[in-house]
């Protein structure tokens, strides 16, 4: 059973650890398993070790200890055979400003010794078309907007058919329309059977696109699994809408509701382990006028906050 799951894993790490020369422990005993065919969301606040992990998976950083396998082969030892089948966008795009979009991709493709030079131009044009950059194909990359650079970086990851795409913050710098396009692209790639490993700080993005997710904090893996299970793990919140929020908050506290938060006419809190109908009755008895009463389904964000004990909006 375990062997089977290992064979189906596109990324599998065991006790993967990286300690930088300064002594800082960036990644601590990571056991990550990314199933084949999944869209895998990789979550964590800045500085939690996501990028170091991705760099170790791509053979850019040597692990201090532990092992990492990508496409069933050890990294970084098998980089030469593994990486042609992996497309990557790592920490944003990096381009040669004095070269056109097309020439940038021609260069990156030429760096791959297993890429056929005879189909190079055609593949570059297809990749640019796929990310919607055909109009800017001959423009110098330094004249590109942030969103266009991001698209060009994505195009570089799509130069050849890949078995695995590693996308670090792929919608960074894109407008809402661009984000939608990229999400649609990720879904289309996933439906073709490509495994997508997506790191993002946008939880709704992960929720919309990903089938699986893992959460990191301070170098450690906190949880991993199907997105639906992760969200279900967090408890929903009781939400009362009322024109008398102060009274409602007082009553709810008396009734044993924890973490009561008042925002304008909404009072929210952690529901106690008993019939919520009694809470409603208590509110009404106390003369609180109730407009709405119910439990909001837990989002991935709630799950995340519950797991890491911190907010997620450390966008950067």
């Amino acid at each position: 059973m375990q062997e089977q799951s290992a064979a189906a894993a596109v990324i599998s790490t065991r006790a993967l650890t990286k300690r930088y020369r300064g002594g800082q422990l960036a990644v601590d005993g990571l056991d990550l398993t990314v199933p084949a065919g999944s869209v895998f969301g990789f979550l964590g606040p800045n500085g939690s070790g996501k990028t170091t992990t991705i760099r170790m998976l791509m053979g850019l950083i040597e692990p201090t200890s532990g092992t990492a396998e990508v496409l069933g082969r050890p990294m970084p030892r098998a980089a030469r055979t593994v990486l042609p089948e992996v497309g990557a966008l790592i920490e944003g795009p990096a381009l040669y400003g004095f070269l056109s979009g097309r020439d940038n991709l021609l260069r990156y493709d030429a760096a791959d010794p297993t890429a056929d030079p005879r189909t190079r131009r055609a593949r570059v044009e297809t990749a640019l078309d796929r990310v919607g950059l055909t109009a800017a194909i001959g423009k110098k990359a330094k004249a590109y907007s942030l969103g266009m650079k991001q698209r060009l970086g994505l195009a570089a990851a799509l130069l050849r058919p890949r078995r695995l795409l590693v996308l670090d913050e792929p919608t960074n710098g894109l407008d809402p329309q661009g984000m939608r396009e990229i999400r649609a692209l990720v879904r289309a790639l996933a439906s073709d059977g490509t495994t997508v490993f997506l790191s993002s700080h946008l939880l709704d993005e992960i929720e919309q696109v990903c089938t699986h997710a893992a959460v990191m904090a301070q170098g450690r893996l906190i949880t991993q699994g199907p997105v639906a299970e992760l969200a279900a793990g967090a408890r929903g919140r009781l939400v009362v809408t009322t024109p008398d929020p102060a009274d409602a908050a007082r009553v709810l506290k008396e009734q044993g509701v924890g973490d009561v938060v008042v925002t304008e006419d909404r009072v929210t809190g952690e529901p106690p382990d008993r019939d919520l109908a009694e809470l409603n009755a208590a509110l009404v008895t106390a003369g609180v006028r109730v407009r709405g009463f119910g439990v909001e389904r837990a989002s991935l964000e709630d799950a995340f906050v519950a797991l890491t004990g911190e907010g997620f909006d450390v966008a950067g």
Binding site: R55, M58, G59, L60, I61, E62, A78, A79, R80, T81, L83, P84, E85, V86, A88, I90, E91, G92, A94, L95, Y96, F98, L99, D103, L106, R107, Y108, D109, A110, A111, D112, P113, T114, A115, D116, P117, R118, R120, A156, R160
Partner: protein, 327 residues
């Protein structure tokens, strides 16, 4: 189809020269075939795609073009200066055989008025101590560090370029730049010399006369010797380039080392060390203008450059293949 076969033939032919790359490529090709990937066997020709791309990238940078423009301007300035100096008909002094002499100016400058071809030798002698190695130091220093600073290094490596292959490609393109830079100086000097001065038979340092064709051939040999003199600083610059993520820092360090070595080479107390300075035998190229050619110092120069290439090439390789890429 025929192109693939041609490529394979090339691969077989070049095995000796580049065994590491060939075997690595073969490994990669087996794995791809085994994994049912593209199914095509990459030939050595395919791995040269990176070298071509490297050359295009290097020579399309405006900085490279500016360096070459500066180098091309040196012979123009020297030529015009000599023309103005001697415009009143007076000779610059020093007869045949004055070349390579003393501190009055670059070697051979006295003979330019008689024969424009000597502008080639003068220009190379004038640019070799500083302009040429500085240009090479800039290009070599930026080679890895510039890519690291711009972040493009990580994308080349995940392409995957392969660290050894990328380093070899970088070194090959820096050496190509050495050759191109030297030829730019030589070509510019030849053009200016032909425009401003008469051409004809050449008087060697030994006093004998050789035909203009033979003189041109000597000029080409000298250009090659000058280009080869730059191998050492190219290797040194590439090594420095693997140490940092800042292209500017690597360039500055390399040029700083160049100046330091040039100064130390002038201090008599350090006599014992002089034969190990990469610049020590640089002006030996003048010996190609002797009849017969005096090879001793030329060979010593080539040996020293090869030593630098081996030592700093290995150091660069050791550093680059074990380094964490965090930019």
């Amino acid at each position: 189809m025929s192109r693939v076969e041609q490529g394979d033939t090339t691969a077989d032919g070049a095995t000796a020269s580049d065994a590491a790359t060939t075997s690595a490529t073969a490994t990669a090709s087996f794995a791809v075939a085994g994994a049912g990937g593209s199914g095509r066997v990459p030939s050595l020709l395919w791995t040269f795609g990176l070298f071509r791309s490297e050359l295009v990238t290097t020579f399309r940078r405006w900085r490279t073009l500016a360096l070459l423009a500066v180098l091309a301007a040196v012979p123009i300035l020297v030529g015009i200066a000599v023309k103005i100096e001697t415009g009143d008909g007076s000779s610059m002094g020093g007869g045949p055989g004055g070349g390579g002499g003393g501190g009055e100016g670059p070697a051979f400058i006295a003979q330019i008025t008689n024969n424009g071809l000597f502008l080639v030798f003068t220009a190379l002698a004038a640019t070799l101590p500083f302009f040429l190695p500085m240009a090479v130091g800039v290009v070599a220093g930026d080679a890895i560090a510039g890519e690291a600073g711009g972040g493009t290094l990580r994308y080349l490596l995940v392409a995957p370029a392969g660290r050894t292959r990328l380093l070899l490609t970088k070194y090959a393109s820096v050496m190509t730049f050495c050759l191109v830079a030297t030829l730019v100086v030589a070509a510019s000097a030849l053009a200016v010399g032909a425009l401003l001065f008469p051409l004809g038979e050449v008087t060697t340092i030994s006093g004998t006369r050789i035909g203009f064709g033979e003189g041109l051939f000597r000029a080409l040999l000298i250009a090659l010797a000058v280009a080869a003199s730059l191998i050492g600083i190219a290797a040194l610059g590439l090594f420095v380039s693997t140490l940092t993520n800042s292209g500017i820092a690597a360039m500055a360090t390399t040029v700083g080392l160049l100046i330091t070595v040039q100064i130390l080479d002038q201090i008599p107390q350090l006599d014992a060390l002089h034969p190990y300075f990469f610049s020590h035998y640089w002006l030996s190229f003048a010996d190609l203008m002797r009849e017969p050619v005096y090879w001793d110092e030329l060979q010593r120069n080539l040996g020293l450059q090869a030593l630098y290439a081996a030592v700093f090439g290995s150091a660069a390789w050791a550093r680059f293949t074990s380094r964490d890429i965090t930019t």
